[in-house]
């Protein structure tokens, strides 16, 4: 089982910058990074126009179902999914085996351009991802800064006090 994903300020900044650049390079409306469990990680563009939490969960469900299909026919994975709409299209690709990169784009861009830019950006995102993994192994949950090391019964009860 993969360990928990931990995102630190510095890497979050790096990822946000990469997504922003990808959005401009690919002329996309929205660029969005989700983990395979449906947790939203970062986004760029007109993200306040969509329900990002639902987008994240449905994307992950979609990728999971497609992964299942791939295994059924003896493929390791389908690394790219593309949904074509009347106005907007969604391009979904897997990055570093545990993240999902989502681009929403319209007629101002094209599938070819998106594929090209995504390929380049994926490598950059993968590098940040492996930095995060190294870092979270070094820091771990034993770190004194871990917010949950000293969580008390009262803290938890307070969540349900209403």
């Amino acid at each position: 089982m993969a360990p928990s994903l931990v995102m630190y300020e510095e890497e979050f900044e790096r990822i946000s910058q990469l997504l922003n650049r990808l959005r401009i390079d690919a002329s996309a409306k929205i660029v969005f990074l989700v983990d395979k469990n449906g947790q939203q990680i970062a986004g760029a563009g007109e993200i306040d126009q969509v329900d990002t939490t639902s987008l994240a969960s449905l994307t992950a469900g979609n990728v999971a179902a497609t992964d299942g299909l791939a295994k059924l026919i003896g493929e390791k994975e389908f690394s790219i999914l593309f949904h074509e709409g009347r106005k907007d299209n969604i391009h979904i690709s897997i990055v570093g085996q545990r993240l999902i990169l989502v681009l929403i784009f319209d007629e101002r861009s094209s599938l070819g351009l998106v594929r090209l830019r995504v390929r380049k950006a994926s490598g950059d995102i993968e590098r940040v991802l492996s930095d995060i993994e190294v870092k979270s192994q070094e820091v771990g949950f034993d770190d004194a800064e871990s917010p949950f090391a000293e969580i008390t019964d009262e803290d938890i009860d307070a969540l349900f006090s209403e």
Partner: protein, 194 residues
């Protein structure tokens, strides 16, 4: 697999409601959705068939407030209970942090409960988890039905490690938040231990 975002100061955890078909998993989520404050909850997504049977999953994001300055976001999922949707169930258990088993109290569903629990154990194992150690809560749903099996009998049949167990009538909301609270607690304690 929880996701801790230090940049946004939030923690995301995934809870899955498991159990036999027509046991009330979706009803649990619907009640939580109805009773939560608008600012706490996101959209309830149900991927269901035309006859309202869960096809893939239901999903409800819920903000429970802050712990030590970190926003806690719970992602609640249900699985499709019908036996032949096993491939989908397996997928939904990926990266789970805590499980609620919603059992059906009716006499006629006792075998289905046991079968579903065995299926949960197998599918968890395939995803690298162990039912014995994962945060886990048991719910006896449909306590209001005349055919409901006595609680002690259900307990003997389904409770296997002294896990927190709650009686519920999900359509009326009885026991729903108690169950959620118990599993959330275990998940947060689990984070502390790691």
């Amino acid at each position: 697999m929880s996701f801790i975002n230090y940049a946004a100061r939030e923690i995301n955890v995934k809870i899955v409601f498991y159990g036999p078909g027509l046991g009330g998993k979706t009803t649990n989520l619907q009640y939580i959705y109805e009773k939560s404050n608008p600012q706490q909850k996101g959209k309830l997504i149900s991927l269901a068939t035309e006859t309202d049977r869960t096809l893939f999953f239901d999903f409800l994001p819920l903000d429970l407030g802050s712990v030590r300055g970190f926003k806690t976001r719970f992602h609640l999922y249900t699985v499709p209970g019908q036996v032949f949707y096993d491939a989908s169930r397996k997928l939904i258990l990926k990266g789970v942090d805590g499980v609620v088993f919603v059992s059906d109290s009716q006499e006629a569903r006792m075998d289905a409960n046991a079968e579903s629990m065995k299926n949960l154990e197998d599918n968890l194992e395939e995803n690298g988890f162990d039912l014995k150690s994962i945060p886990y809560v048991l719910q006896f749903n449909k306590r209001d039905l005349p055919t409901a099996v006595p609680v002690d009998q259900m307990y003997r049949a389904l409770n296997f490690k002294g896990e927190p167990t709650f009686e519920a009538i999900a359509v009326q909301g009885m026991g729903v938040f108690e169950t959620l609270k118990a599993v959330a607690k275990q998940v947060l304690y689990d984070l502390r231990r790691r």
